[in-house]
């Protein structure tokens, strides 16, 4: 009996929860060693993640952010876990969105401007990801290496563009000017005052729609079947008539466009200007969340909400506990990725034994 024969509730729910608990156990141990009470700290973590009202809730944004990345990652993953074609750390969100914003925000009304920004972001993302995709498909370059290099290129390019062209005269901070109000995404708190002052905005729904489309496209369409076949065995898929290079390039285009949409939340929804480090490692974390969610839309949704909550909880925890710096949370994040992403089947043998024992 392998993990494939296990019932879905076991692989989909019990295993991730067990992994998550072990990660938090290690984290608690570290917190204990730092001289703080782990139980109390975890309570602060959970409370602050729950508390939505009364102050700016950063985690709301972060959640959406992560969620937007995820489908990009999963789309890529499905394209090729076997031949290491996993879209490595994908591409920085490019400045396309901002350029569209800055060019038009004085002239266009919001109902044209916001779609223009989204399309600009997705287009830039797709174009940026096209190059590594092309190199992989036509020249056989290692996609992990090329995408990592493209991250560096994008980061330097962003720096150059911001410092050279976008920075307002007289400013020291490496950021573009603030967009006009027409470019701001409507916030959910405008309609639901219960939420309090939170940057949670409509890009949250955009993310959910993207997830739904991802789920249908990959699992329920013939194109998705070809995609998964390519990922499992390139040669077999080719023999069955799939155009491998076209598949790789299209997958990278979609992946890049989704990653570009990730920028919409933080730039148009929250900060309203382009700064250098707004990505904040979401590209890497996204890969882990995709795995943790078992590449299933619902799983991805749940795990990205969990990460968003943890990120926000981590901020609050470090505020209340002087012995626990913010970086503790980065460590916990790494632990969760390790346990839930890399060692996903750690408890599978034990669980299989338990299930078998019950059946016998």
């Amino acid at each position: 009996m392998t993990t494939n024969d296990m019932p879905r509730w076991a692989t989909g729910i019990v295993l991730p929860i067990l992994n998550l608990l072990s990660a938090l156990l290690v984290a608690a141990l570290v917190i204990h060693l730092l001289g703080e009470d782990p139980v109390e700290s975890m309570q602060i973590l959970i409370n602050s993640a729950d508390r939505q009202s009364g102050r700016p809730v950063v985690h709301a944004v972060l959640r959406v952010d992560l969620r937007l990345y995820r489908p990009g990652r999963v789309g890529g993953d499905a394209g090729g876990p076997v031949q290491h074609r996993r879209r490595g750390p994908d591409v920085f969100r490019r400045p396309g969105l901002t350029l569209a914003m800055l060019a038009f925000d004085a002239t266009l009304p919001w109902y044209l401007l916001i779609p223009a920004g989204m399309i600009g972001a997705a287009l830039f993302g797709a174009l940026w990801a096209f190059i590594p995709g092309y190199l992989q498909a036509k020249r056989g370059s290692h996609i992990v290496v090329t995408t990592i290099m493209f991250n560096f290129i994008a980061a330097s390019l962003m720096n150059f563009v911001i410092v050279k062209y976008l920075i307002p005269p007289g400013e020291q901070n490496t950021a573009s000017r603030v967009f006009s109000a027409a470019a701001e995404l409507p916030r959910l708190s405008d309609w639901l005052p219960v939420l309090g002052d939170t940057p949670l905005n409509v890009s949250f729904f955009l993310a959910i729609v993207a997830l739904a489309i991802y789920g249908v496209m990959v699992s329920r369409s013939s194109w998705g079947y070809k995609l998964r076949a390519t990922g499992l065995n390139k040669h077999a898929a080719h023999y069955a008539g799939v155009k491998i290079s076209a598949m790789i390039i299209v997958t990278m285009l979609i992946s890049g466009a989704l990653a570009g949409l990730g920028a919409v939340n933080s730039i148009m929804g929250s900060t309203h200007y382009l700064s250098l480090n707004f990505v904040g490692g979401a590209g890497f974390v996204g890969i882990a969340i995709a795995l943790m969610g078992r590449q299933h839309p619902v799983g991805i949704f749940l795990s990205s909400v969990l990460f968003g909550a943890l990120i926000q909880g981590g901020f609050d925890l470090s505020l209340e506990k002087p012995n626990i710096p913010t970086e503790t949370f980065i460590f916990i994040q790494g632990l969760i990725i390790l346990f839930c992403g890399a060692m996903e089947n750690l408890y599978a043998p034990v669980l299989i034994k338990l299930i078998k024992g019950k059946q016998a």
């Binding site: 970086e327 980065i330 460590f331 790494g334």
Partner: protein
């Protein structure tokens, strides 16, 4: 701009000084790559071993212990990665990313806990490798 303005000497010196890190990282990556492992976690290993070697060198005031401890920690992380990839049949890339992220957090936390200097290790002073090398070779140009 004259030839002296290029500071060719200092450029060469800093090039040589920065090269060993890349040489070691490249070799580490090469060993892994040759056996078919994509080692994304090198960054995290370098970070962890940098912290541990500095902390041990400071604590023992002996840079050689620092080097040994750094190697040990890095190898221990590689063992963890191997356990994940081989025993657990997990994903190598994700294990590497996890190590990178976990170490970028953990080194800061532990450094802050032990030394209270904003996540940095204290100045090594006499425990630097350069001081020890100069003891062995006092006539070397940079030692005088």
């Amino acid at each position: 701009m004259s030839f002296e303005d290029l500071h060719l000497g200092s450029i060469v010196v800093s090039t040589v000084r920065n090269a060993p890190v890349l040489i070691f990282a490249a070799m580490a990556g090469l060993f892994a790559e040759r056996s078919g492992v994509v080692d994304i976690g090198l960054e995290g290993k370098i970070l962890a071993s940098a912290f541990v070697s500095a902390a041990v060198a400071f604590a023992t005031q002996n840079p050689w212990y620092g080097i040994l401890a750094g190697m040990a920690v890095s190898a221990a992380l590689a063992l963890l990665q191997g356990y994940v990839a081989v025993t657990q049949k997990g994903n190598q890339l994700v294990a590497g990313i996890a190590i990178n992220i976990a170490m970028s957090g953990l080194t800061f936390v532990v450094a802050q806990y032990f030394f209270q200097q904003g996540g940095r290790t204290p100045d090594l002073g006499e425990a630097r490798l350069a001081t020890w090398c100069c003891r062995a070779a006092p006539r070397w140009p940079t030692c005088r």
